[in-house]
C-alpha cells in the first residue's frame, strides 16, 4: 500500500509538469460523457420513462457507474495499456523485481485527467440527489458508496482480464472494449430494461447488477426484504476481482518475452 502511494505521487508530479495540457484534457474529459447525459435527458423528455424508471432514477444509475468507470480508468490505466509493456518487452523488468506484478502494473500508469469525467458524474449525482426522493438511512448511504467501490473493482477486473489476453496475443484486442466501454454504456441504465439473457449475463458472469439495479431498487425503496442483504450485495461484485487475479497469475506463468 505504501509503495502504491509512492507510485501515485511520482506519476502525479510527472503529469503536473504539463499543466496546460493536463487542464485541457481534463476539461475535455468533462464534456465527453456530458453529451451522452444530454442525450439521455432528451430521450426522457420525449418518452417520459423507461420501463417504469424515471429520469432521476436512471440518472442515479448513470452517475454511479460513470464515477466507478472514471476512478478505475484513472487507477487501472496500467492494465489498460498493458499491451505496450508486453510488446516492448518491458514487462521482463517488472518480473525481476521483488514485488507483485499486479502492484507494479497498476503503478506503471495513472491517468489523472479522468478527474474531468469524475467531476462530471459528481455533478450529475448532485443534481439527481437534489431532485430524487429517498428516505436516507445510514445503511443506504453505505450501500451507495459500496456500489461505486464495487463498480471500480469490476472495471479493474475486466481491465486485468483484457491485459491477461495480451500474454498470448501481444496486441491489445479491440473486442475487450465491449466489456469495458460497452459495460459502462449498458450499466448506465438499470439492467432490467434489457432482454433476459443480457440481464443474466451481466448479473452472473460480469456482475454489473450488483452495482446497478439490485442495490438501486433498495436505495429507491422498491424492495421489501431485509436491509442487510442489500448492503452486502455490492460486496459480491468486489469478489469478481478474485478470479481475474487468478487468471492473471496463470497468464504471468505462461508469459514468454518478445525479447525485443
Amino acid at each position: 500500500m505504501f509503495i502504491f502511494g509512492k507510485y501515485l505521487s511520482i506519476l502525479l508530479k510527472a503529469q503536473m509538469q504539463y499543466r496546460v495540457s493536463f487542464l485541457l484534457l481534463s476539461f475535455g474529459q468533462f464534456f465527453v460523457p456530458f453529451s451522452v447525459f444530454a442525450g439521455l435527458y432528451f430521450l426522457f423528455e420525449q418518452f417520459g420513462q423507461i420501463k417504469g424508471w424515471s429520469f432521476y432514477e436512471v440518472g442515479l444509475c448513470f452517475a454511479i457507474i460513470h464515477m466507478a468507470f472514471a476512478i478505475s480508468e484513472c487507477f487501472g490505466r496500467g492494465f489498460d495499456s498493458f499491451s505496450q509493456l508486453v510488446a516492448s518487452g518491458d514487462f521482463d523488468r517488472l518480473l525481476v523485481r521483488p514485488r507483485s506484478t499486479v502492484l507494479q502494473v497498476l503503478g506503471s500508469k495513472f491517468e489523472f485527467t479522468r478527474i474531468g469525467r469524475l467531476l462530471q458524474s459528481l455533478t450529475v449525482l448532485i443534481i439527481v440527489l437534489v431532485h430524487i426522493e429517498i428516505d436516507w438511512t445510514i445503511a443506504k448511504v453505505i450501500t451507495m458508496m459500496l456500489m461505486v467501490v464495487s463498480g471500480v473493482f469490476i472495471f479493474v477486473g475486466i481491465f486485468i482480464l483484457a491485459a491477461t489476453l495480451c500474454f498470448w496475443t501481444i496486441q491489445a484486442i479491440e473486442v475487450a472494449n465491449i466489456f469495458t466501454d460497452g459495460g459502462r454504456e449498458i450499466a448506465q441504465y438499470p439492467l432490467d430494461i434489457y432482454k433476459k439473457w443480457v440481464t443474466r449475463f451481466f448479473t452472473f458472469v460480469i456482475p454489473f447488477a450488483t452495482t446497478n439495479y439490485i442495490p438501486l431498487n433498495y436505495l429507491l425503496g422498491k424492495t421489501d426484504s431485509s436491509d442487510l442483504f442489500y448492503v452486502f450485495i455490492p460486496l459480491a461484485g468486489i469478489l469478481f476481482i478474485l478470479p481475474c487475479l487468478l487468471i492473471w497469475h496463470y497468464g504471468v506463468k505462461h508469459y514468454r518475452s518478445t525479447g525485443s
Binding site: 485541457l24 484534457l25 465527453v32 451522452v36 417520459g48 423507461i50 484486442i173 460497452g182
Partner: protein
C-alpha cells in the same frame, strides 16, 4: 485528376491489409447496435406519447450508423498527417507537384472508404436476416434507395471536408487533441450519433439543422427509412451540395492561410 486517383487506390489496398482488426471492430459494432436497439425498445414499450420516429425507423438508423461508422465518425484520424505537420516533414509534401488540399482530401477519403468496405458489407448482410424487431428493413422503393446512396455519398464528401479543418487547425495548435475532442463531441452530437435528431427538443433541432454535421448521416439515414419524404430529399441533396462547396472553399482558404505562415525549420 490522375494523381488523386492513384493516392485513392494506394490507400485502399493499404487499408485492406488490416482484416483481423476489421473483424474485431465488427463484433464491437454488433454489440453496440443490439444494445441501442434494446434501449429504444424499452423506451418504446411503455410510451403513451407519439414518438417522431417509429421503432423500425430507429432500428434502421442504428444499424446504418454501425455499418457505416467509418464514413461518419469524426474521430477517425490519420496520424501520418499530424506527424507531417508537427515534425516538419510538411516540406516534402509541399514539393509535390499537386495541390495539397486535394492530395490530403483524396487520402482521407480513401481511408474511410477502405475501412467502410471491409466492415459495412458483412454487417449489412447479417442485419438484413436478423429476426424482428432487430432486422434492418429494406427501403420502400428503388428511388428511395438511389436517393440514400447519393446523399450518403455527398455526405461522405462533406464529412471529409469537415475533418480537413481538424488537420488545418494543427498548423496553429501543434497538437490535434484539443480540436479533435471538441469538434468530435460537438460534431457527433449534432450529427445525431448520440441520439437521432428527431428525438431532440425543437430548439436543439433548430441548431442541428443549421449546422453541416447532420447532412453527413442523419439526412441519408432518414431517407433510407422514409422518415424524410422524397421531395424533401431532393431539396436536401441541393443543400448538401451547397454545404460541400462552402466547406471545401473555406478549407482551401484556411489551408492557404496556414501554409503562408508555415515556417519549416531545417534539420
Amino acid at each position: 485528376m490522375k494523381p488523386y486517383y492513384s493516392v485513392l487506390r494506394l490507400r485502399l489496398v493499404h487499408g485492406m491489409q488490416y482484416r483481423s482488426a476489421a473483424f474485431a471492430g465488427m463484433a464491437t459494432q454488433f454489440f453496440w447496435g443490439f444494445m441501442y436497439i434494446m434501449i429504444f425498445e424499452a423506451f418504446f414499450s411503455h410510451t403513451n406519447s407519439n414518438p417522431p420516429m417509429t421503432l423500425e425507423q430507429v432500428v434502421a438508423y442504428i444499424w446504418l450508423q454501425q455499418a457505416f461508422l467509418a464514413l461518419i465518425a469524426l474521430w477517425f484520424r490519420d496520424n501520418e498527417i499530424f506527424d507531417l505537420i508537427t515534425k516538419g516533414n510538411i516540406a516534402y509534401e509541399l514539393c509535390r507537384p499537386c495541390d495539397l488540399y486535394g492530395f490530403w482530401y483524396a487520402k482521407l477519403l480513401a481511408q474511410r472508404i477502405s475501412a467502410a468496405l471491409l466492415r459495412s458489407i458483412p454487417i449489412l448482410l447479417v442485419v438484413f436476416i436478423l429476426p424482428e424487431p432487430y432486422r434492418l428493413t429494406i427501403p420502400e422503393n428503388i428511388e428511395t434507395l438511389l436517393l440514400f446512396v447519393m446523399t450518403m455519398f455527398v455526405g461522405l464528401f462533406i464529412l471529409v471536408a469537415i475533418s480537413m479543418f481538424i488537420y488545418i487547425s494543427v498548423f496553429l495548435t501543434m497538437s490535434p487533441t484539443g480540436s479533435l475532442l471538441m469538434l468530435g463531441v460537438v460534431g457527433e452530437f449534432f450529427a445525431g450519433l448520440i441520439i437521432p435528431i428527431p428525438f431532440m427538443p425543437d430548439w436543439l433541432q433548430a441548431i442541428a439543422y443549421a449546422l453541416p454535421f447532420r447532412w453527413t448521416m442523419d439526412f441519408p439515414f432518414r431517407i433510407y427509412s422514409s422518415n424524410i419524404s422524397e421531395t424533401d430529399a431532393w431539396v436536401g441533396l441541393g443543400i448538401q451540395l451547397v454545404w460541400l462547396f462552402v466547406l471545401v472553399s473555406l478549407g482551401r482558404i484556411a489551408l492557404k492561410g496556414a501554409l503562408n505562415k508555415v515556417v519549416v525549420q531545417g534539420g
